[in-house]
Every structure is written in structure tokens, then in C-alpha cells.
Amino acid sequence: MKTVALMLGLFVLGQEPQAPLGPLVNGMDFSGSWQPARYQDSGLGTAAGALVDYGGISLNDASRLYALSWPASRQTVKQQQCMGYVPPYFWYAPGNYRIWEDRDPFTQRLVAIKFYGQIAQGERTVYMDGRPHPPAYAPHTFTGFSTGKYDGNILTVTTTHLKRGWVRANGVAQSDEATVTEHYVRHEDIITIFGVTNDPVFLSEPFTKTSIMLRQPKDPDGWLYACDDSEQILGRKNDYVPSHFFGQNPSVQEYANKNKVPLLGALGGAETMSPDFLAKVSEAAGADAASRAKLLPSGSQQASRAKDPTPNDGEIHVLHVAGNVYMLTGDGANIAVQTGPQGAFLVDTGAGKLSDKVIDAVRKLSAKPIQFIVNTSFHPDHIGGNAKLQASGADPSLTGSFFSNQFTDAGQGATIIGHQNVQTRMEKQNPPAAAPPSDTYFEDRRRKYHNGEPVEIFPLQNAITDGDSIVHFRKSDVIATGDIFTTTQYPFIDVKNGGSLQGEIQALNFILDRTVYVHDEDGGTMIIPGHGRVTDEWEVAEYRDMLVIIRDRVQAMIKSGATLEQVKAARPTADYDVRFGATTGPWTTDMFVEAVYQSLTGLTGLTPKK
């Protein structure tokens, strides 16, 4: 009786139970074929937009430096050729658009509204059924994860989990930390989309902008966008990424001069969105000085404004990545777990603070004990759980084998695999680290066919340390990279233990040589980073590009005789610090710049790779 009364109460309040039917929503119908109106912002659509035309964009200083270092030739880099479009930029492309509803076939309730854009073949799903957004450590895409609700005649869409994309395709970037709210309202055959972008990394305040879609009376024929990246310049090395050094963009004045716009306005910023800006530029000398100051890094060093996607709540969180592979996060470095009919195959064991919970999580995924563990590094956040996780497992491939007669402990516990230098450095610690790899290698790949798929272990030396490895689960198509790639900080190049910037760049390129996307830099080979969220190749390429650009800046300063202190003072990472930098903690921006400098000057004890 109480249940009945409660249900009646809910209905009286108009709150229908959401499961299993989902909420009853209806509102303005946006279905149909649409095309963007080109009456406003002429020339700013798709890959257009003049260089150094940033007026009316609330970009911050770091974002401006990022844009000023971007030459159009950056698009010749393979991974940049077919990048997708993030909202709200999604609606600026010139192609055809379709909107339709996805309704449950049995209840006819609105599950989702779908948007499809011809350019980059972007398909967006706006869930209307009340489901939550994924956790922070889940992958991002160019179209993100969207949920919607109606408010009167307005559809409001909230989008998270976006990749780094464009605010304007002339170098003004929208970071992967951005969230976008869009309000859709339809008037006759016009849809007005009002987008509000909040980006703590690259915007000083929300960027608001409208776009207009017009209904097409006839469904058009063209819906596809064939983009396949390829080599654009023969003989170019894969560690070449075009960029302008700070203060050396040759196009700075071009747009401003051509259109009689003050440079201070063309350089953008929140102030340029205000009517009061007109008064500010009326004093020409002051405006010119202010604009010149914006071309170089200034102010204090910035720390990352990105949130750490790792929960750090004392629990182990599990995310299915692809095929048979899962990511466990919450205890230091990420842990990859492959499951199947054989024992579980792990990459890294975390910091060891939550090992019992890691073992419990693996047991929920795999009916069989842990059989293999690969250590991608000897760093303690990757090997801290070795002893407990090894002890919880077993390697039945050894028990009863020819070798078992020679080793009393054969098959007891999981087999730990790693580069010889991981074993060596763990054993040399005082006291020696527990449970070092017993199955080691030097230069050649190790391979296993395990749990129904090929597994390759590649040593990639002299990146983070001299003992780095990555693991590629080939059928699931997931690569666990260790700290060669993270989404949370600059690479922890451990120069004292054999790490180097050039080795790091080479390692990232090695990873990129093994990845394939599904479409326009989305999906395909998935990446479990050493720290941070799951990605695909796009973020790896962006990370590689960043390191190449920073390398080139520091290298140029070294060639001109700059000391380490002079390099630091020039802030060669100023445009990336807001995403990856740190001013405190175990790996600061200064430490990273030191590692770069040491790598490039040969002060590492290693010979820099040519």
C-alpha cells in the first residue's frame, strides 16, 4: 500500500519514475535536413578564417600564444589532416546537416536526438533519457557526450568529453577540458543555435556565439566526407611539426592591415567582445603597445587548469576500453587488464596502496587468476602492487612443465615480465623493490598469444627511462603506453635513469605507427595512458606535436647560446602550461624544461639522438 501511495505521490508531482521507460519528454521538433546560413561570419566556416583574426573571441594569453604559433602548414601533419569538428564549431561547416529522433520502438519515448554533419561525417547523439555523463577517465571524442532537455520551446544540450578542437580553424583552440552548452530554438524553417563554451584552459570567460541553420526543402544527395590522411611532403621526418616561434609569426599584421582593424582587436580576448572596446582602441599608441605585449609570454608561470580525471577516492574504478581489455584506475598509474579463457594479463600494478581492491576488481573481470604482469617502468607508481598481485596469481604455463623441475616456485604466482633495466633498477634500490620482473628482455619485442589474441611487448628505451615498454593487445586493439604518454602532465623524462626528449618523441611516433582510427581521428586503436583518461591516437599525436614544438623552441635557443636559466625565463612552454604545467609537486614545468635542455645539450650522460 505504501508503494502505491508513493507512486501516486510521484505522479501528482509530475515526476514519473524514470526507469525503465525513461522520462516522458517532448518539445520542438527539429527533424529534417538543414544547411548553415552564411549571412553572418562570412568566411569563418570550416577550415577558413584568416590568420590572426581572433577578434570577438574570449581567448586567454596562453591560447593566443598557441594560435600565434600555429601555421596553416600544421595541417600537413598526418594526424591533423582529418581531425573532426567539436561543437559548437560543428555547426559552422558548410556541408549538409540532418537532425532526427531516436525513439524506443515499443514505448515511442524519445531516447535521443541525433545530429549529423557532412563535413568530417560527425554524428552527435543527444541523449534525452536522463542518463548520466561518463566518468572523467572515459575517452573523449570530437562530438563529445551530450545530454539534452527541453525548456519551453528551447532544447538545451550539454556536452562534455570533447577532444581538443577549434574555436576557429585558424589556430584558436578549444581544449579537451571544455564543456559546451547549446540552446536550440526553431522559428519556422530557421534554427538558431546559441552556444556557450566554458574552457578553463584556453578561455578567460565563456565564449558565446550564435549560428543559424536553414531548413532544406529537398533532402540533398551529398552526405559523405572522404578524408584519408597521407604523406604530404615526401622525405619529411615524422618528428617535424611546423610552428612559429614566439614573436616570429610573419602573418601577425596581415589580417589587421587588410581590414583596417586595430591589431589589439585582431588579437582577441574577452575585452574585444564588449562595446567598450571601441573606446579602448581610440588611443592608438596605447593600443599598439598593448598589442605588442600580447605577442610574447608574460606574467607568471601558469599551472594546469585541467582536472585530474583519476578519481583518487580510495576506490578502484574499472572502465571497459575495447575487446577484452579494461582499465583500472585509482591507485597510482593506470592498470590494464586483459581477460579471457586463460589467466588475466595485466600491464603495471599501480602504487600498491589499494592492491587488495585491485585484486578484487580483477577477480570480477576474470574467472582465472592473474597469469602475466608487464611492468612498463620501474617507477614506484607502476610496480607498487607487484608483490601482492603476483602472489594472488598463478602461471599454469610453468607448473608441470619441463622447467618446473628446476625451480621450486615455478608457476607459483603470476609471471612478471619487463625490460632488463626494470629488473636491474628495482634490485639496485635500497632496499630492493619487491617482486621485480623475472622474465626480461633487452631490445627485441616479446610476444605472446594469450586469451585469444596476439599481445606484443615493445621495449622503447630512453624515453621516460632506459627501461620503458608498451604493450599492444592486437585483437582488442588497445595499447598500454606506460608513462610514455599521459594526459595529465608533461612527460616525466627521468634523465638520470636514461630518459631523453628525443627518445620520448621517437616512442610516441612508434605508438602512432601502430594506431589506426575509425574515422577522422576518432576511435580505432585505443590508448591506456600511464596516467589520465583513455584516449585514441589523436591525443598521442597532440602530445607528440607539443613535444616537438617545445623541442624546436629550446633547440633554437640553445643554438643561440642560451643558458638553462635563460631558456626557463623565455617560457618555451607558455602555451601548454595551462594544460600540462605544474608549479608545485613532484614534476614541475621547470623540471620538465630542465630535462628538455639536458636532453638536447647532451648533459644527460647519454648521447642525444640525431
Binding site: L24, Y39, I57, T156, T192
Partner: protein, 209 residues
């Protein structure tokens, strides 16, 4: 909708902030429209006492500035613009001898989203404010002499949205039809952020250039 609003100039930034003669990109002008735009002479407008040609209804809402919206009476919504010190009156009742100035005659109505078809459980929902303006003196769409004619008709839709952080925006969608100078209807949008008060409100005279 009532209160003070400030333009957020992110659309058509170049053309709204720093318009130049002959820069009519995006405007679907016909040859006659281009001829008039190319012949723009602000000195001539000044001499003729027509400094306000860019401050008429099709242009005023895109000129960077602040707007004060109040109810003049039960049937009339008033929009004051500090740029050019212009006043628009949106009439909800029948139009009677209004019009023929820069701001023409504006008829307003609330658009209510209907309940829909049979079995619909959701009541009528609030919609937009629709305003249709005719009888305007010929003027400029932009402050660079891009023309509209006295035959033009402007249809506007006003919508208000509020963000999670409390920021409130007025979103204006405009459709200008002008058989004299345009080859097709021109649809644009602009938006305004709500201000707590009159900060920045600076009525200023029309400027021909």
C-alpha cells in the same frame, strides 16, 4: 526581457566593430544594392541630416551597445539603445499610425508552443517574442552604407536563456526581406548579456561614420 542588456560582439565582429566601405561580405546584395553600398558617402549623409541611417531597426540591434527594455504600457514594449539614442516601440495591439521613422512600425506577439496532437500530456509551453517591422525609412544594415530599402520587412524572434552560472542572455534571430536590394532573405542572429543595472549606459548621438 525587461532590464539592461549589453551586446556580446562575437558574430560579425569585423563588420560590427570596424566596418569598412565596400565590405559587404555575407550580405546577399543584388547589383543595385552593391552599387549603393559602393557609393556610400558618409559626408553626404551628414550634410543631409541623415546620420542615423545605420541606426534603424535592421541595423540598430547589431551596433555594439547597450539596450534598456521596459514596458511603456500594457501593450507596448520599449527598447532603448544607447548607440544613436534610439527608441523602438513594439506594439502588441493593433498598429495605428506608427511607423515611417528609422524604427518603422513594429507589431509584436508572443509565440506559444502548442500542445500538439491527440493524447499530448504536456500543456502549452512558453515560446518566443515575434516582432514584425515594416514602414521603415531606408537606411543601412551596417555602419558602412550597406543598404536596405523602405520596402524592407524585418521579422525578429527574441528568446531568453539562463546558464547554470546565472548568466542570462537574450538571443535575437532576425530575417530581413528586401526585394529592392537583397536577392534572398537574410537571416542573422545576435545576442546580449543581461546586466544587473545601467552600468556603461551612455546615450550617444548618431554618427554617420
Amino acid at each position: 526581457m525587461t532590464g539592461y542588456w549589453v551586446s556580446v560582439v562575437t558574430e560579425d565582429w569585423r563588420w560590427r566593430m570596424f566596418p569598412n566601405k565596400g565590405d559587404y561580405a555575407g550580405v546577399p546584395l543584388n547589383p543595385e544594392g552593391r552599387r549603393v553600398a559602393d557609393g556610400w558617402d558618409p559626408g553626404k549623409d551628414q550634410a543631409a541630416g541623415e546620420e542615423c541611417k545605420a541606426y534603424g531597426t535592421p541595423g540598430i540591434m547589431r551596433i555594439p551597445g547597450r539596450f534598456h527594455i521596459t514596458w511603456q504600457d500594457d501593450q507596448t514594449l520599449k527598447i532603448e539603445a544607447d548607440a544613436g539614442t534610439q527608441t523602438r516601440l513594439l506594439h502588441f495591439g493593433n498598429l495605428q499610425n506608427q511607423g515611417e521613422g528609422w524604427q518603422g512600425a513594429s507589431k509584436a506577439e508572443w509565440q506559444i508552443l502548442p500542445t500538439g496532437g491527440r493524447g499530448n500530456a504536456v500543456a502549452s509551453q512558453p515560446g518566443s517574442l515575434k516582432v514584425v517591422t515594416t514602414k521603415m525609412k531606408a537606411g543601412y544594415l551596417r555602419r558602412n552604407g550597406v543598404p536596405y530599402s523602405a520596402n524592407a520587412m524585418l521579422t525578429e524572434y527574441y528568446d531568453v536563456v539562463t546558464e547554470a552560472n546565472g548568466d542570462t542572455y537574450l538571443v535575437l534571430t532576425s530575417k530581413l526581406e528586401d526585394p529592392t536590394y537583397l536577392t534572398e532573405p537574410m537571416v542573422t542572429a545576435a545576442h546580449f548579456k543581461k546586466q544587473a543595472g545601467a552600468a556603461g549606459w551612455k546615450p550617444s548621438p548618431c554618427v554617420a561614420r
